[in-house]
């Protein structure tokens, strides 16, 4: 039996409780307005505690122990901040962090540039727009393992990329057989290019939606007032696209700093450590060398470093949105 009552502005719908049963009484309690509206909040908070907060606390706890997984956990002992000192004093960690910023910086810059140009061209085209959009989005949908495998074939020294580049290199008297995966510098670019190929799709998508959302009245008005195409782009369209640019930068930077798949699939961090990113470094320390405590401490430090950057990114995003909406300076 359903009972409908009104209390103030709230409409309360609840099952009439049957006397005596625990479940019906619980149902009735849950159906009360003051309780019911808290349920989603409690679920979300519960998930947050279970999925993020407890593992985080566990990671902090493990980072304070001396424990390698080649010893049972019961033998772990408390060592305070020793692991943090070890991480801070580890050259390879900082080199891997530096490499992650280098790979991420170059890759994201290229992805933004290429994605922006492609989006601009596609937004202006009148024919086959859907076809172009679909084609440019395909790389993002391919499983990273497949991308890695394909690039490992492309990069073989007698492979298609070198064959394509050979005429160009021979013009300058250079060796056309670039060691894409075994030369320290070429391997770094090999990984960057694989990442750019796959993830330019995302920046393209973000910019395309940005171009689609531009109000045509402003462009038309500028054109009527005699603005050149360059002025229209630079003075009208580009400022309005800034929020989209910031979104692309923040999302891709966060992902690029965690670069892992192409490193494992193409070089295993080599030759030497020349392509070892911080994500790969952590994976290796924990899952290959079993240094769980060291890895936990490195993760926490990394979280702090990336946290500052992400905060700065989000601050920029909010600021740009406020500017566009006319709420800020």
């Amino acid at each position: 039996m359903v009972e409908i009552t009104t209390r103030g502005a709230d409409l309360v719908v609840r099952d009439t409780p049957k006397r005596g049963g625990v479940l019906p009484r619980l149902a009735a309690w849950l159906a009360q307005e003051r309780v019911f509206r808290l349920i989603p909040f409690i679920l979300v908070e519960g998930m947050f505690i279970l999925v993020i907060f407890i593992p985080f606390l566990l990671t902090v706890y493990i980072s304070l122990l001396r424990w390698r997984a080649n010893r049972p956990f019961e033998t772990a002992s408390f060592t305070g901040l020793d692991n943090y000192y070890s991480v801070i004093g580890n050259d390879q960690f900082w080199l891997a962090v530096g490499r992650s910023f280098y790979f991420g910086g170059v890759a994201v810059a290229l992805e933004l540039l290429i994605g922006f140009v492609l989006a601009m061209l596609v937004s202006q085209t009148t024919r086959f727009k859907r076809l172009y959009t679909t084609v440019f989005l395909v790389p993002m949908m391919i499983v990273p393992v497949v991308v890695g495998y394909n690039f490992s074939m492309i990069y073989v020294d007698s492979g298609p990329l070198n064959q394509l580049l050979a005429p160009l290199f021979s013009l300058f008297g250079m060796d056309p057989r670039v060691r894409w995966l075994s030369h320290p510098v070429a391997a770094q670019w090999g990984i960057i290019l694989a990442d750019v190929w796959q993830w330019t799709s995302l920046t393209f998508l973000i910019f395309l939606s940005g171009f689609s959302a531009l109000p045509p009245q402003l462009v038309n008005a500028a054109r009527v007032m005699g603005a050149s195409p360059w002025q229209i782009f630079w003075r009208v369209q580009f400022p309005l696209l800034k929020p989209a640019i910031v979104i692309a930068v923040v999302i891709r930077s966060m992902e690029a700093l965690k670069l892992f798949d192409p490193v494992v699939l193409l070089t295993f961090g080599g030759p030497g450590t020349s392509t070892q990113t911080v994500a790969y470094f952590l994976w290796e320390q924990v899952w290959v060398f079993n240094k769980f405590s060291f890895g936990a401490a490195a993760s926490i430090l990394l979280l702090l470093i990336f946290g500052v950057l992400i905060y700065a990114g989000i601050y920029l995003l909010v600021r740009q949105r406020a500017i566009v909406e006319g709420r800020g300076a």
């Binding site: 390698r68 075994s182 030759p271 290959v288 079993n290």
Partner: protein, 483 residues
Amino acid sequence: MNRCLVVLSAIGLALASSVGAATANDPVAERAVAGAKQYVKDKNLKDPKLTILLSSLYNNSFPDFARRWEELTGVKFEIVPLGYTDIPAKIMQEGVSKTGVYDIFNDFPYTMPDAVGAKVIIPLDPYVAKYKPDFSGIADGLLYQQNYDGKLYTLVNDGDHLIMALRKDLVENPQARAEYRAKFGKDLGCPDTLAEWEQQAAFFQTKEGETRWGIKFEKPLYGALGYRSINFSYRHFPAYMEGLLFDRDMKPRINSPQGVSAIKAFASIVQYMPKDIQGWGTPQIYPFWGSGQAYSAMSFPSIIGFGESNPQSTVKGKQLACLIPGKMVNGQLVRRSPQAAGTGYMVSAYSKNPELAYLFIQWLTSPSVGDEAVAHPKGFWDPYRASNLTNKAILDRFGADFVKTTLENSKYAASLLLIEGNYEYFKVLDNNLADVMNGNISAEEAARRIETGWNKVTADVGRENQVRIWRKGVESGIYLDKF
């Protein structure tokens, strides 16, 4: 269509019957089967099942043996295949999570030290005493590798010790032979030393389009092939090192004239290999060898089988299997063939039926079934014990010359580093060797860095225990060299 089905059925039956015949007249296998039946009866197990974490390389061959085991004992198998690079982490995860989902782990013996430390695998000595497996005809280096810290933890059914493969057609080419003899005063053939290998590699290095010894080389001929990438260099380096990697107190021996010389020799021959060799693993090296673009290869033994059986191979019937080249030490030729991989079977400490798991392993590695496995056309088990020499199926599959050579070579088989944290020691070595090969640092600098890196790992894992295990391993003979 029907004819195809009949042929396929016949092949299937032949394969099944060949596996089925495995236990006949083999008391080791028979004891395992009888023991398993008795175990199931005593424990009153309903629907007994074993679960194995299997290297995915064996996904096309292991199920034949699992089926046969089920027919013989009623014990079913659940196979969980995984890429071999991921298996060590999975085993260590089980050490933390203790789920008990696996009964048997299939991996290289090199995972054993960390797994023992984490107490995720158990010693098999009590079962060995009870069921008496047969380890006869296995060379010392491979045999002792089943043990760690004085206890037996894994049963190995694979001889993955490195060999040398040469192009027989080029070695036997009269013009090449004459030119080589005139130049070096020695007949062409299997190189005795690593220096001689490099000499031959330099001699055969040929540019694209050149005509030499009556042969027009449409593609370049590289003098040598070898594993020089991350995760592989460490498997080959011990062939170059004179003696042990550490002294009695685990002080690294790498930063010594011998160590520096080994690093230089390891890096020097790269000039006769394909330019991007540092990015190559087996998926690149085997096909390249099969394409006929290299004169020689130091590799896992299965490269010969690949060259003979791959449909696209151009080196079929043109391969010469050789003993691993060595080094002259105090006027004596010393060969070391690193057991670079090798598949073994360990029992999980969290298995509900560890004895049953052991019995399967004894059955699979018994002389008769083990031979069947080595002969399996889709398997990756390589010849490793004396009985392989007289097994017709194995001789048919690999060729008598190769089996004879690889068995002879097994006398020089030595284990890679078998102590806790070994993958970290390996990585320190690999990284620095790569830097030398790329010309970033000198061999001397690499030796210093490796020494520092190895000392750090030893201190981190625990020096006292490392020294104890290291001494025990050396004294057991797994590295062949002694203090």
